[in-house]
Structures are given as C-alpha cells and as structure tokens.
C-alpha cells in the first residue's frame, strides 16, 4: 500500500477506452438536439461578393442559417491570439481580425462562411449546399516563399510590411558577429521544417446548450483546456460571464496541440443554441479536420555555426521564416519565438547566439503548436547543423558533441537565449543511447547491409527542451496574455478514499492513473482509493489545461502542494485525538504517529474524524478534509536526452526503413514508467512520421493536396522497429516532484536523428543533404543527382 510512485500501474482509464465505453463529445446527445453544418470556403482567397441563403432557409428541416453578417450584427468578438510578440523595433505584431464567420473575404480553403442549423446533420449539410456564395477570386499566397516575394499579393491589406505578422529577434547580434569574425570554421545549412497536420483520432466536436430559464450556457467540446476556452469565450468572443458559462471537455481522443485552441465552431454552437432555442451539435468530418484543425511547424531556416580551431562552438546565427497561415491561432505567435528561439543553444555551450524570426501570413490553414511546438524545429536545425559540422570538419560527430555539450558541473546553465537550465547530464544520455544501439559495431552492420544491396546509416541527436509551462511572471513579461500556473484539489471523503480534481486535462496521457499514483503515494493509500476528475469547469477551480508537457510538473505539483496541506491538517486532527503536540505527530506510510510512542491513527481514521467531528479541535480547526492549491512554477523544466536511429535504404526504390531506434531520455522523476514509455513511443512515432512520411502540401491555388489519408501518410506500427527506450534521469530542482515532462520528447529528439541517419547512409554515394520528409522519390532523386555530379 502507498509506495506506488515508479510502479507500472495499469491505466485506470483503459477499462472504459478498451471496451468502447469512452464518452466522447460526439457520443453525447442532448434532449431535442439540433445539428450544425459549417459551410466552408472552397477557395483559398476570394472576396465574397454576395451570399444568398434564401433557398437554404426554406430547405427541409432547417432551423436557422447564420452568416458573417449575422455574426457581426450579434456583436461578437473575434477569436483572440493569446501571445503578443513584439517586433525588433518594439512595435506590436500585426493581429488581424479572426471572426468565427467571415463576412467579406475568405482567406484559406476551409474558412468559415456560414452555419446551417437543422433537425438532422444530413439536412443541415444538404441545405448548406444550397447557399449561393458569389466569390470573386483574389491572387493566392500559398506558402512562405510566395508571401515574402517582392510584390506578393496581400493576405491582409493592412500589414505594414508585405505579409509580415512580426519580425522578432533574440540574443545579441554584435557579440555573435564578433564570434563569427574570429571563427576558424563556419558551417552553414538551409532547411525546411515542413508543415504537418496533427490528426487526432477523434475529430473535433462541440455541443452548445443555452437554458433561457437560468441564462446558463453549457459547451461540451473536444478541448485540451476547458478553463482556457471559458476564459476566451467569456472575455473575448461572446462576453458570456464565466459564472454563466460551463465548459465540459469529456473524454477527448487525442489532441497533440490541435485541441488547445479556441475554434469558431465553439462559438457557433453556443450562439446557434440561443438562436434556435435548442441544443446544437457539430462534429467535424475528417475532411474538415484536415483543413480546419490548426497545423504544425512550417519553417524555412538558414543557420550558421562558428567553430574555433579546437572544434569548440563560438557562435550561432539563425534566420527563420515561419508560416502563421491566414489567421493567428490561439498560441501561434509564441511557437516560432519563445518556444523556438530560446531553445537554439540546445545542449551545448554556445557563447553567442543571435536569431531572427519573420512570421508571415499565407492563404493557408492557421499554424499553431503541435507536439513539441518550436522545440522540434530548434532541435532539428541545431542537430542537423552539428552533424554537418562534424562532417565538414572531419571530426567524429560523437566527439564533436562531447567537446561542446554542457557538463553537469555547469548547471544552472544560463544560455545566451534567455533560458536557465537547472539540471541535466546530457553526455550520460549520449553514452546510454550509444550503448543500446551498439554504436561501436555500426560499420560492421553497414558492411553486412551492403552485401544485401542496402545502404545502412546511423544518425543521432542530442536535445534539451523547455516544458512545464510556465512561470507566470516570466510568461507575462514575454507576451503571454494568461498565467500558466495550475490548480489541484484533493477531497478526502469521510471513509478515507479520495477524489482529486485537476485543472489539467487528459486526452490520452493517462492522468487518471499517474495522478492517482502521485496522491496515493503521498497519502499512503491504495491507488484504487483515488479517483481523478478533470475536464469540467464546474468541478475544478481553474486550470490552464494540458499542453507543453506541463500536466505532471505543474498540475502534479499543485496536487502535491494540496496533499501537503491535507497532511498538515491531518496532523493537527491526530494531535488533538492522540493528545499530543502537533510537532510530535509525524505522517509515515499512511499513518499519523506520535514520535517515540506507539500511538497512531490511520489516514482513514483521521479523515473520518474530520467529517464526524465529535472529538475534534473545533475551536481552531474547521471540520472536513479538502484542500486546494495553485502552483506557479519557478522555471521551465528541461527534459533532454539522446536519440540514435539506424536506417536502411533500398537504393533502387529510395525506400528508407527505420531498423533501430535507441533513446535515452531524461524526463525527470518517473511516476509510471509504462505510461512514460507509451508517451515516448507516441512521440517517436510522430517524429519519425515527420522525418519520413508526413507532409501537408498545398498547390499554387492554396488547395490542400494532402487532404485525406489517401495522400497524407500517417505513420503506422509497421513502419517502426521495436523502440529501445532507455533513460538516464536527473531530477528537476525546482518543483516538489522532480519530474520534468515526457509528452513531447519523442517528437522533439528524433527527426534530426532520422535525417542524419539517412544522410549518413547516402553519404558514400555522394549525397550530403535531404529534406523532410525523406520520401522514396526524394531519396531516389538525391542519389541520381549525386551520380550526375
């Protein structure tokens, strides 16, 4: 009993998930519910000359048709961006309006033009097809290159410079230039971090319900952060006061970032439910998910590394263009800046760094945080560059990394790009990963593969990332428009079992198990006696939700603090009953004991006394045993580690097969190793997916070419070998758990390792560069080019 931190406890939530009993938003139906269908722009950029809804309004079963004009007339605000970035000159970024229905102009395929409410989904959809929209086509800006071209058409007429959203920088330019001036070697790289589509298994859905008798609004939504949605609807889009607005995010089938944001459909169903006087449900079709869920990544970068004659890094210069899409999604602006630029030192001592980031608007779906958010882009850039430097300098890449990696005695380590890493043993992670992959014998494996006609390569990356968002004061200072603490409540019930409420949200991460283990361990009770509740603004005090691998380091820490308050109160109760002084009562193994005596009370006995306070210090102490805490982190947490990948390439077809993946991650203190392994596996799958398979491609007209699973390649189990997941942990120094976070490390560390491995395999054939995803055709072309050269 009790000591369950570190145990592979089976996931409590899996009973319902694996037996098909999960309750997702689309599983829920409200009495007398109507259905919404959103009419979306088929064009990437066009003026809406006119819109005629008459036929649709007359169609069978139709209850209402609402357009952008109705939205404007209703006085609603637009979907806000939660992070203000400042330009180099101190002026604020350009923030275009983002109404939930557009009135005059569409700016990407899928832009929301009208919503139809009808008795059935089919009727709503049929009627939507009867809405006549007269579009006047405008020139399209399909990608970054087009957006920054001279004389490019404008996505927003009033952007001061071209299609620029902002022009941001970090680090110091002059010292960095000076470092380059004295460098022996300068290695440079150009690379693309391609656009991805998150593809949560459960499409987004929402149900709005308005009760005129109480003026209560309820929204069920597929969200990673129900409180945040309440805040945004309350303060920005609909101005519904929070006490009249309840948001429920029930079981949610994956998010990967895409369900953090406040989406138009949340506004539309709540508004529509008021208009038609009935609950209104909307569920995305998969094709809609492809064009309306926020996408990820989409950077083009140039970077240079200055190195001295001993192979020590002197400086790093980075210039990145980032695609925001047509609108600013909730956290879009923060991703290529504070979640990216700040990570450019990686695990290395780089005395001077200067990075510039220009974010631009294009006629594409909005881009926002996707598993890793900024840190994969930073890691990809740096680890590709370091491997390239090793190759150009003729130094073994492991050796070059060892020469420059931050050593354990250098912590806390202040980087030139704002972060202070608290702890880490990155070189040890490198050792563990290399050992697991049997690095020493790689050349033998390469030879053996060659005898089968295959090109084998090995690649690696060392990474550190910043998660556990975030110290609120720091976040505020760099533009966040919200605090980033977390809340937790522990309600001890009279017979000693416990209900836990967390402001974080689980949509695949297993909080119901991990948090139960945490609380059970702290209070010395069985895991089965702890139930974790989340996802409903009416039962949790507040909370910022789950993203940025923050749930355990921030949300778990809040619960730990609440648990300490429970124990403190329990000691007072026990002291009274056991007739001892509070100072003499200690809490050990789930028992309150009077030091030096055999007098003790079980946790459950103390709980019972708190609720049946017959013998109780009522003068000084309230009855009951329930405590809440808010935890505001002191710093980010910094998981890090090493990923090593081996690939085999069939030179005839260009097909790359990942044959070995060995990782050593430092995620801090581990509560449930099985769940951590699962998170790492998932991250690796998406990271390898980015490296080899996934690519959201638009054509010149801004049409998404990869808008279904026929052409957008999702990674599958058969694409991977068994992952060798090792670890080498150090404990976070500034939160009570020592945990750092594990949700994103796989997706952050592995893409450069895969691409480095692909290049390593192709190098003997003369290939020195390849872009993600390294598709068979790209590999084949690279081999052909090299042959010609």
């Amino acid at each position: 009993m009790g000591k369950v931190i570190g145990e592979r406890v089976l996931r409590k939530e899996d009973t319902r998930f694996l037996t098909g009993k999960g309750r997702y938003t689309d599983d829920l139906n409200r009495p007398n519910q109507a259905y919404a269908y959103v009419l979306r722009s088929p064009m990437a950029h066009a003026k809406i000359a006119s819109i005629d809804t008459e036929d649709a309004k007359q169609a069978d079963g139709v209850l209402a048709v609402l357009t952008g004009k109705d939205h404007a007339d209703a006085g609603f605000g637009g979907l806000p961006c939660g992070w203000l970035i400042h330009n180099k000159d101190g002026s604020p970024m350009h923030e275009p309006p983002h109404p939930s229905l557009v009135a005059d102009r569409v700016r990407h395929v899928g832009d929301n033009v009208a919503v139809v409410i009808a008795e059935t989904k089919a009727q709503a959809k049929a009627a939507a097809q009867m809405i006549m929209v007269d579009y006047e086509e405008l020139p399209v800006v399909p990608d970054i290159t087009a957006a920054i071209a001279d004389g490019a058409p404008k996505v927003w007429d009033d952007t001061p410079v071209g299609n620029r959203c902002y022009d941001w920088h970090i680090g110091e330019k002059d010292p960095t230039d000076a470092a380059f001036a004295k460098a022996k070697h300068v290695v440079s790289i150009d690379l693309v971090n391609q656009r991805l589509i998150p593809n949560a298994m459960e499409p987004r859905a929402a149900i709005g319900e308005y009760d005129p008798s109480t003026d209560d609004h309820t929204l069920w939504t597929t969200s990673q952060n129900p409180h945040l949605i309440r805040l945004l609807i309350g303060a920005f889009t609909m101005q519904i006061p929070e006490h009249k607005l309840r948001i429920i995010a029930p079981d949610v089938g994956g998010g990967f970032g895409s369900k953090i944001y406040h989406y138009a459909e949340e506004v539309l169903v709540l508004w529509a439910s008021k208009v038609v006087g009935r609950p209104v449900k909307w569920t995305a079709e998969r094709s809609e998910s492809f064009i309306t869920d926020a996408h990820g990544r989409d950077h083009i970068s140039h970077a240079e590394l200055a190195i001295d004659d001993k192979g020590k890094f002197l400086g790093l210069r980075v210039s990145t263009k980032a695609n925001m899409g047509a609108y600013l999604s909730t956290f879009a602006s923060a991703v290529p800046t504070y979640l990216y630029g700040t990570l450019l030192s990686g695990v290395y001592v780089i005395p001077a760094i200067y990075a510039e980031v220009e974010a631009v608007f294009t006629n594409t779906t909005a881009v926002d945080a996707y598993r890793g958010a900024g840190r994969p882009e930073a890691t990809y850039l740096l680890e590709r560059l370091v491997t390239k430097a090793a190759r150009e300098l003729g130094i073994d890449e492991v050796e070059l990394r060892r020469r420059n990696v931050i050593q354990p005695d250098q912590f806390p380590y202040q980087t030139p790009v704002a972060l202070e890493y608290d702890v880490g043993e990155f070189e040890k992670c490198l050792d563990v990963a290399l050992e697991q992959v049997d690095y020493a014998n790689f050349e033998k494996r390469r030879e053996e593969a060659k005898s089968r006609g295959m090109l084998r390569g090995i690649g690696m990356s060392l990474y550190v990332e910043a998660c556990g968002l975030a110290p609120s004061a720091l976040a505020g200072a760099i533009g966040a428009r919200a605090g980033l603490y977390e809340s937790g409540t522990i309600r001890v019930n009279p017979t000693g079992n416990v209900t836990v409420f967390t402001g974080t949200h689980s949509h695949g991460q297993g909080h119901e198990t991990t948090f139960a283990q945490l609380v059970a361990d702290q209070l010395g009770i069985p895991v089965e006696s702890v139930e974790v509740k989340h996802g409903d603004t009416s039962n949790t005090a507040f909370g910022m939700g789950s993203y940025g691998s923050r749930s355990l380091p921030v949300g778990g820490s809040a619960l730990w603090k609440a648990g300490e308050k429970i124990i403190a109160k329990g000691r007072k109760i026990a002291a009274h009953i056991l007739e001892a002084s509070v100072d003499d009562v200690e809490f050990v193994d789930g028992e309150f004991r009077v030091k030096g005596t055999d007098k003790k009370m079980l946790f459950a006995e103390v709980a019972f006394s708190a609720y049946v306070p017959h013998n109780y210090p009522l003068e000084e102490l309230e009855p009951g045993l329930e405590e809440s805490a808010f935890y505001d982190p002191k710093n980010f947490t910094f998981p890090g580690g090493c990923h090593v990948v081996e690939v085999e390439i069939d030179p005839e077809t260009g097909v790359t097969k990942v044959v070995d993946v060995a990782v050593a991650d430092d995620v801090g203190k581990v509560i449930n190793p099985m769940i951590v392994d699962g998170q790492i596996h998932g991250g690796l799958a998406q990271g390898i997916g980015q490296a080899l398979l996934e690519h959201a491609k638009y054509d010149e007209q801004g049409q998404l070419l990869t808008g279904s699973y026929m052409t957008y390649t999702m990674p599958r189990a058969a694409d991977f070998p068994f992952f060798k997941v090792g670890n080498h942990v150090t404990h976070c120094t500034h939160n009570p758990l020592g945990s750092k976070g594990c949700g994103e490390v796989g997706a952050i560390g592995v893409p450069p390792a895969v691409i480095n491995a692909v290049i390593n395999a192709l190098e003997p054939e003369g290939v020195t560069d390849i872009e993600m995803p390294a598709t068979p055709e790209r590999v084949w072309r690279a081999l052909n080019e090299a042959k010609k050269a």
Partner: protein, 264 residues
Amino acid sequence: MDNFEFHKPTSIDDAIKAVDGKDEPKFLAGGQSLIPVMKLDMAQPSDLVSLAGVATLKEIKEDGDTLVIGAMATHATVAESDAVTKAIPSIASMAGHIGDAQVRNRGTIGGSVAHADPAADYPAALVALNATVKTHKREIAAEDFFTELFETALEEGELITAIHFKKPKRSWYEKFQSPASKYAIAGVCVAEYDDGVRVAITGAGNKVFRHAGMEKALSGNFDPSALDGVDVDAGELRTDVEASAEYRAHLVKVMAKRAVKNAR
C-alpha cells in the same frame, strides 16, 4: 450521404431484378470503395443492392487450365485460398498485399474490377493473366474491360459473376505501394505463357496497360537482365502528389525486374 433503398437478394436473378428500372442503382460488394465515394457525395445511388447474400458469387475453383474466382471472393479469401495458391500463386500474393487487413476482409475482386481504380492491383493481374470477366449476360476480355480512368465496359445494371484467369507457366506481381493508401504507385504483373510473356502495369498510368517492349524482351529471355535495355516512357505516366511520372517510370522497371526474378 443521401438516403437510399437497401436490397439483399440471395440469387443472381434476384440481384438483376433488384436493379431493374431503378433510378440510379448500385451493387454493393465489400463497400470499401463505394461507401467512401458515397460519403463524399460523389455517388448518390437510389438503391443499393447488396451481393453479400448471393452465395454462388463467392466460389473459387480450378477448371482445367482456368482459375475461376467468384466476384464476391474477398481479398483475404483469395490470399488464403489453396486453390489460388496452387494454380496462380501471384494472385494469392497480390490479394494478400491489398490495403490493410480490414480492407482485405471486406473488399472483393468483383468490386475492385468494377471500380477500376487506376491504382488498384487486380487489373494488372487480369490483363497479364489473360483473364475473362464473366457477367450475368456475357464474357469480356480483360483488355477490353478496362476502358478509361474509373471506366469499364460494364453496362448499367450488369453484374460481374466471376473472373476466369488463364493459368500461366509462371507469373508474379510486384508493387511499389503508396505509403499512405497502400494502393499501387507502380505495380507490374508478368506472366509467362507458351506463346509469350505478358506484362501489365497498374498505378502508373490512367489505367492498366501492357508494355510491348518488356513483353518482347522477356519473351526472348525471361530474366531480369532482359529488361536492362527496355525504355519505359515517362511521357505516358501520371504525375500526382505522390510521385512524378519520371519516378514512376523508374519504379515500373524496378518492379518488373523483381516480378520476373520472383516469378513462380
């Protein structure tokens, strides 16, 4: 998806009667192509006539130098069929590599052939293995059957009952799969007969086609090396988001060589 009438006949005759005189009837086999198309509103049949209850359509048998596969035989059944494996192993192997397990458990040879997806696998087998498409009223040679992109010689309401394959001396099918859909980006079926070699290519063009140059080279020498000097003209192939015509042309040759090497 619009509403439709659903019918489930138990005989070929009743199936034909069920479509007769209907506005826009469709046979429903495994539904692996038809249902997605209906979900996208690209087909709005008035009547769906399920063939699942017509037992005679599922038959697989050897008949002299012919292998007969009933229209409603699923890909999984074909892949696991002893008769198929014995008579023409390349067909069993091909069926075993269509899509994924779910698709193979429902999708049928008749549905695949009738749908005539330019990237489907079976069309290559039909053309290379000199097959005849049997319908409820006639026989159509495979080469005349696939007319254009998603178009066949089938008339309105015409039901495929079985495919008759001519047993070769040896044959094989190799495909380069789309990593996303698993359909063929380039699939090549080679079949050696007493009177020569037939080579059919799927996935690379707008419909399945034979390659005269390869057939000639292989008829002289059934060995991968015979294909070294044969040109595959990229000009006739498709470029799309998954692959360029040039790459497809290259893959066609690689797959053809592998098919020859593995032929049995």
